[in-house]
Amino acid sequence: MIAHQLSIFAENKPGKLAAVTSVLAKAKVSIRATTIATADTFGVINLIVDDPEAAQAALTKAGMMVKLRPVLAVLIDDKPGGLDRLTQLLHKEGINVNNAYGFVLESREKAVFVVDVDLMEKAEKLVEKNGFRTLDTDALSTIEPFHYMKY
C-alpha cells in the first residue's frame, strides 16, 4: 500500500517551520513524523500527517508550495536488526532510497520506516512479498503511536 507524504518548499530562515505548524494546528491536522532537507538557503519540509489532503489544502490556501508525494510506510520490528532486514532487501534488489525516516509505534515492538524510492511499485511488491506490511494513509492515521503506558 502506498502512503502520502507532504513536501513543503521553505526558505531556510527563522519562522518558516512555525508558519507550517501554525496552519496545521488550526486545521486540526496531527503530525506523525517529520524531516527537513536543506540545501543552503532553501529546503523541503517532509511530513507524515493523519489527513494529508486537508493539510495540503490548508497549506496551499496559506500560499505555500506543497506537494503530496507517494511513499512506502513499512512496518518493521522495533528491535536490533529490524531496520537492517528491510535495508538489506532494498540493497539486494538495487532499489535506491532518496529519503527515509522512521518513528516508533510501540516501543520495542513495532516501528514505521518511511522510504521515498524511485521504483515505488517495484519496491512495494518486493517488501510485501518478503513478509513486510506496508501502511496506507488511512492505516497511518488510525494507528496510535507510542504506548507510553508501557514505561
Binding site: 513536501s7 521553505a10 526558505e11 540545501a39 523541503v44 500560499g63 508550495m65 532518496n98
Partner: protein, 104 residues
C-alpha cells in the same frame, strides 16, 4: 545598465535568460553587493508553482542551471537563491528590480 567587475550588464539580458528556464516563476530581484574588493551579484528567483516536485534535488538542479546559464551569458557567476512564488515584489513591464547595495 549596471557595471559589475568592469563588465556591462543589462538587466534585460538576465530577465530573458531567466524566463527561458523551465521552473522559473514570475518575479526575481537582482542584488549587487560588495564583499572586500569584490562585486557580487545575488539573484533571488521565484520558483514556478507547478515545477515543485517535493524533491530537494530537483530544486538544487534548477538553482545550478540558473547559475550556469547566467554565467555563460553574462560572464559573471551569480549567487542564486530560490524563493516561494509571490514572495517577491511584482516585476511589471520593463521595471526589472535591481538593488545596488555597493558603497558608492
Amino acid at each position: 545598465m549596471m557595471i559589475l567587475k568592469g563588465v556591462n550588464i543589462f538587466p534585460i539580458q538576465i530577465e530573458k535568460k531567466l524566463m527561458d528556464i523551465p521552473g522559473v516563476g514570475r518575479n526575481f530581484v537582482i542584488l549587487l553587493e560588495r564583499e572586500g574588493f569584490n562585486d557580487l551579484m545575488h539573484i533571488r528567483v521565484e520558483v514556478e508553482r507547478g515545477y515543485f516536485s517535493g524533491e530537494l534535488r530537483h530544486l538544487e538542479a534548477l538553482r545550478r542551471r540558473i547559475v550556469e546559464e547566467l554565467r555563460s551569458d553574462i560572464l559573471i557567476t551569480p549567487k542564486v537563491d530560490l524563493v516561494e512564488p509571490d514572495s517577491l515584489p511584482k516585476t511589471e513591464g520593463k521595471a526589472v528590480r535591481v538593488i545596488d547595495n555597493r558603497e558608492k
